[in-house]
Symmetry: C2
Subunit: 264 residues, 2 copies
DNA sequence: GACAACTCCGTACGCCGTAAGCTAATGTCT
DNA sequence: AGACATTAGCTTACGGCGTACGGAGTTGTC
């Protein structure tokens, strides 16, 4: 199920999200009271925690991400993290933003906004497949961090050059995000399913068909169009990542036909 | 985080999914051994469990859906459910399919496939907003039940009439699903956030802006396009559901411009 | 030297999914 | 009628989770 973000204390979360990037708030829980700073030195940093958490999620998946697991990786306990991070939810928010770091500031457009959009989508697709747990964090979250913001900003930069009808901008942006995200999710989950069950994609698919044929022998007559669509041609590609990627490319083509003038 | 479905024993899951709809397997765990049926009468049914679980998810959200909660609602314990359903994962799969029940078999197309697609998308949007937890179940799941299958089948029926280039069919279908699902997710989560915090959408938005202005005073110069996009006009609509719906309508328009000939 | 502020973190609580196994009910077979 | 295999229902319990709470130890200021 989707993990909803942005639910803790918004001020605290946003301070953490924008902390290093803002000239105003230098850093740290330490600074919260305006006064000095007694007490032991801090042994961890928020960034170290974020990176450890991302490492856990990348390696073992979001299901296995727990405060205890992050603590283990850092050689401490789960509770030690709570000095730096108010809760797991906030940590996920921070992970989410951090995983979008290093995004290109701009994409070369020239006279070809279409290929720039495709490059942007390709980068986002890569990012999602590299950190599939990103797709399990709600993207309707309203607490945006600086790195996520860059992803949006770079797309807007591309579209700014193309002369869109102004009322197409917002829907176009939403649609592009939804398409990439949806396709990447399909790909990531197909890949994960194959890895989890250990059966090849083709093998798995034929087993499923046999089962369906037995349980629902009238399938073909009840769902003729689905049957036609699923009809396996001999050169069928069972790899879920390639399938999803092809669907994404096609979907982007259709959408951009409606959105942009053709590159030339 | 997204709950991955379709991971239990596929044969058992599919038998449950297609059970009532198939002439072959009459029903029930009872029947699994070919032999007769000693032991106490069964006091529950799979359908009752599914419906109770959906009621819990509708009322309290997916986070609060637990086997114990479903058991409580049925006046029994959590463990009593395991006679009927192999695990929570399978139960979620069954819930997912069941929540798509009653889908229109066909949409009137006439010469207007475009409006038929829009009606289909509208129905799906409604369904998602009525059962927002559906959006937290992965839709890349390959174990399809009969009701989900009808959703796809009806769309294919519409598109069959329009003469699409054949290579546009799959990407078009994927894109339509992704658009509706993405928009509904944005809407549902915005709605949930407003309900959870108790602040009005407008109030919440202005607080967020003030916070951002303080933490990242250089926001406008670093993200000029985002700033321009977010620029609040006086007649701005803060309601997240309406916003997402408008984005969906616009996105569908763009996509269908690329996909279909205009209705007339 | 006193004290306040702070970090660190062990313990514990109430959740969760579900494995294991007992009890009692029911059918078939002798 | 009685024996017995099979099954549903359910209790108990285990190992996980997020995190509240509070004690212990460390560091700065007065």
């Amino acid at each position: 199920m989707t993990l909803y973000g942005g639910q803790g204390d918004p001020a605290r979360t946003m301070a953490l999200l924008w902390r290093a990037h803002s000239p105003a708030t230098e850093d740290a829980p330490r600074q919260r009271t305006g006064r000095a700073a007694p007490g032991p030195k801090q042994g961890l940093t928020v960034d170290a925690i974020i990176e450890a958490a991302i490492a856990v999620a990348d390696a073992d998946g979001m299901d296995r991400l727990s405060m205890r697991a992050v603590g283990d990786r850092l050689g401490t306990s789960a509770m030690a993290l709570y000095t730096y991070v108010p809760s797991k939810r906030e940590l996920v928010d921070l992970m989410y933003d951090h995983a979008h770091a290093g995004w290109p500031q701009t994409y070369p457009t020239g006279d070809a906004p279409r290929s720039a959009v495709l490059a942007w989508a390709d980068d986002l697709w890569d990012r999602y497949l590299r950190h599939p747990w990103l797709l399990q964090v709600s993207y309707a979250r309203p607490v945006l961090g600086p790195h996520e913001q860059s992803v949006l900003e770079s797309l807007l930069g591309i579209l700014h050059g193309a002369d869109l009808p102004p009322q197409s901008l917002r829907p176009g942006v939403s649609a592009l995000f939804h398409l990439v995200r949806g396709a990447a999710q399909t790909a990531a989950e197909g890949r994960a399913a194959a890895a989890a069950t250990g059966t090849s994609d083709q093998q798995w698919w034929t087993e499923r068909s046999a089962l369906l044929a037995r349980l629902a022998p009238d399938f073909a007559s009840r769902f003729p169009h689905s049957t036609a669509l699923g009809g396996a041609s001999s050169d069928m590609d069972y790899d879920p990542v390639r399938q999803a990627r092809r669907a994404l490319d096609g979907g982007l083509r259709l959408l951009l036909d409606g959105l942009l003038p053709p590159d030339d």
